[in-house]
């Protein structure tokens, strides 16, 4: 009797089929790292930027751009960092994580030709990730896109976003503490890679547009000369160690502070937190010890 009742009962519902992880294509390292942190096991992140290439200058072929159609989400830093986006035909799955952030304006030389009149290539500073708070906001933007695309896994995305924001908040506080004793005016940088970090700490960084591998020309030397005036112990932030010829051309007495611009993997794989903590150590050394940092 019991067996017959059991036989007539509705069969148990089939177990839910595990959905395939989202395919996320990242166009630069910081946002690729964000996608990995937020997506966890629910996403498969493909880094579109080839190893060793600079996202700002890399130019993908039309085939590579068309292949982005296969992704569920395409994640970009935006704010002009991936310069090729300006000339590419992009799918509507693109998420520009820096959209809506309070961006810095950087100035560059402008030119004119033909009938177009004077025009400028100045724009926004795209190095948003140098400030962990901005990267956290970019994480929130990516989180919204992930949840909209894959609401089934929202609890996981929520938990990982909370953890990420906690880590980035802690990093930001530590950076603030390290920079609290730094001079708030007069330091220079070779490239606008750390503008948002400086803005966060209330520091004015003078961008000198120097190449760490090529000795500066007369105009660049004139800029450096003007900057060095009134500086007792000038500090120059670099995104890569300047070669000896560059240091020699700039003259003695400059403290060269080399930081990781966090655009590329340092060593093995890209790890934003580990690499930013490396910068933290160098900043602490630079501003708490009397020795010139290297």
């Amino acid at each position: 009797m019991i067996l017959s009742v059991l036989a007539c009962a509705d069969p148990p519902p089939p177990p839910p089929q595990p959905t395939a992880p989202l395919e996320v294509h990242a166009l630069s390292r910081p946002v690729g790292w964000l996608a990995e942190q937020l997506g966890g096991p629910d996403v498969v992140v493909t880094q579109v930027l080839p190893d060793g290439q600079d996202a700002a200058t890399w130019q993908p072929s039309g085939d590579v751009v068309a292949s982005l159609d296969r992704a569920d989400l395409v994640v970009a830093n935006g704010a002009g960092f991936e310069g090729w986006l300006e000339t590419a035909t992009l799918p509507d799955t693109l998420v520009s994580t820096a959209e809506g952030l309070a961006l810095r304006t950087i100035e560059a030389r402008t030119h004119s030709h033909g009938s177009g009149g004077a025009h400028s290539h100045q724009g926004h500073d795209p190095h948003t990730w140098s400030d962990p708070a901005l990267l956290a906001q970019q994480g929130a933007a990516l989180h919204r896109a992930l949840v909209a695309r894959d609401p089934e896994h929202q609890p996981g995305y929520d938990a990982r976003l909370a953890q990420l924001q906690e880590q980035l908040d802690a990093l930001g506080i530590a950076l603030d503490q390290a920079l609290a004793v730094a001079p708030d005016r007069g330091m220079g940088s070779n490239h606008p890679s750390f503008g948002y970090l400086a803005r966060r700490a209330g520091i004015e960084l003078i961008e000198l547009d120097l190449d760490p591998e090529r000795p500066p020309g007369p105009q660049a030397l004139a800029r450096v000369g003007a900057w060095r005036q009134d500086q007792e112990e000038p500090v120059l932030w670099w995104e890569a160690a300047p070669v000896a010829e560059v240091q020699q051309a700039l003259g003695s007495g400059i403290v060269h502070l080399v930081l990781d611009p966090l655009e590329q993997p340092s060593g093995g794989s890209y790890d934003y937190l580990a690499q930013a903590r490396g910068n933290l150590v160098r900043l602490r050394e630079a501003f708490t010890t009397p020795q010139a940092p290297r």
Binding site: A66, W84, A88
Partner: protein, 390 residues
């Protein structure tokens, strides 16, 4: 065995009439042809009219809302749906972002051409909304890449990798934009509509043809006027070479002048998510002083209303043609009978009754009209095939 009578040997009135018409095949042919044209002309005209109306309406119904600058709604609709005419006043591309809140929105930048064929700048949203599939190759990926419609590719013998050159828009604008060489990277599946006969590219490529987006080498002492120390503005000399081909080598030098949202679009085609979004979009743009939201079905129905009035006059005209042709046919028949009086008299003398003679005449008329009906049917069928109705 009984011998067949003369009437039986000749196959009765129909056979006799057939033999007569075959003997006078030139005159009979003209009569059949004239009658068939008189019959086929109204049929073909009405068929073509109905087909064009159906197609116009179908295209309009597949294009829910067109946004554009205030002005002539007909020009805007024709430009957005058929790409043949450029609008007088473009709208800023930023309208696309605004329209995206209501559904799928695709910019349309119309006005450039390649060998006289329209080059339509748009986005992937257009291909998606229209259901345009790539039959060969791939969709445009970077600046300078185009896909060709199926009929265009077939007529021009286009294949993947072919280079095509945009037409010069103004011969006397020496300081303006130059023709650009573009690459065909894909061919679309046929749809039977106007999308089959144009090139599609990203709207950025059409901005490059405009000159808003262009490529050149970095400014050097040879290509720029000397600048004072610290100057933030360099002015290029005429020696600066603007790229005329968008290739993998030159692509990186192409850059945009201005903000994307301010660059021009002829129109924005919007596919609202639902009826509510459509009503909201129409309501919001009804308050706009510079832009308008047009429903192409309204515009096309207005045009078809005018066509319907013309069609009434056309039907009267066709009726007159048929009447006149019938009268002429009757006249030629009467004259023919007069000319054949001796011949018909001979039939009577051979013993044919008046009825038998009338049967032969009647059979001739039936054969001529039958031939005319068959020929006009064939012509109408041919027209239907050419119009793609069958």
């Amino acid at each position: 065995m009984r011998r067949p009578t003369l009437r039986e040997r000749l196959g009765g009135p129909l056979g006799l009439a057939g033999r007569y018409l075959l003997h006078h095949r030139g005159r009979a042919g003209i009569q059949v042809l004239g009658s068939s044209v008189a019959l086929a002309l109204p049929a073909i005209t009405l068929l073509a009219n109905a087909t064009i109306e159906d197609r116009l309406l179908a295209r309009a119904q597949a294009s829910p809302i067109v946004l554009g600058h205030v002005g002539n709604t007909f020009d805007l609709t024709m430009s957005a749906l058929y790409f043949r005419t450029a609008v007088r006043d473009p709208i800023p591309h930023g309208v696309v972002d605004r329209a995206s809140a209501y559904g799928l929105a695709a910019p349309l930048h119309v006005g450039h051409s390649v060998g006289g064929v329209p080059l339509v700048g748009t986005s992937l949203a257009y291909l998606e909304a229209r259901g345009l599939q790539i039959a060969q190759g791939r969709r445009p990926g970077v600046l300078g890449e185009v896909v060709a419609g199926a009929a265009l590719a077939e007529a021009s013998g286009l294949s993947i990798g072919d280079r095509v050159r945009t037409d010069l828009t103004n011969l006397y604008d020496l300081a303006g934009s130059y023709p650009l060489i573009l690459t065909v990277v894909g061919i679309l599946s046929p749809t039977g509509g106007p999308d089959d006969r144009v090139y599609f590219s990203d709207v950025k490529t059409t901005w490059a043809v405009d000159g808003h987006l262009h490529g050149h080498a970095a400014l050097t002492e040879a290509t720029a006027f000397p600048a004072e120390e610290g100057a933030r503005h360099l002015q290029a000399t005429a020696a600066l070479f603007l790229e005329q081909q968008i290739t993998p080598e030159t692509l990186a030098s192409f850059h945009l002048h201005g903000e994307t949202h301010a660059l021009p679009a002829s129109a924005v085609l919007v596919f609202p998510t639902d009826a509510r979004a459509r009503d909201q979009l129409l309501g919001d743009f009804a308050l706009e002083p510079l832009y308008q939201a047009v429903q192409p079905t309204d515009v096309i129905r207005t045009v078809l209303g005018i066509v319907a009035q013309v069609r009434g006059a056309l039907l009267v005209y066709l009726g007159l043609v048929i009447t006149t042709t019938t009268l002429f046919l009757g006249l030629t028949l009467t004259l023919s009978l007069r000319l054949r009086r001796a011949e018909l008299e001979l039939l009577r003398r051979l013993g044919s009754s008046r009825l038998a003679v009338a049967e032969v005449i009647g059979a001739e008329i039936v054969l001529i009209l039958g031939g005319a009906v068959a020929l006009s049917g064939g012509l109408t069928l041919l027209a239907a095939l050419l119009l793609g109705v069958v």
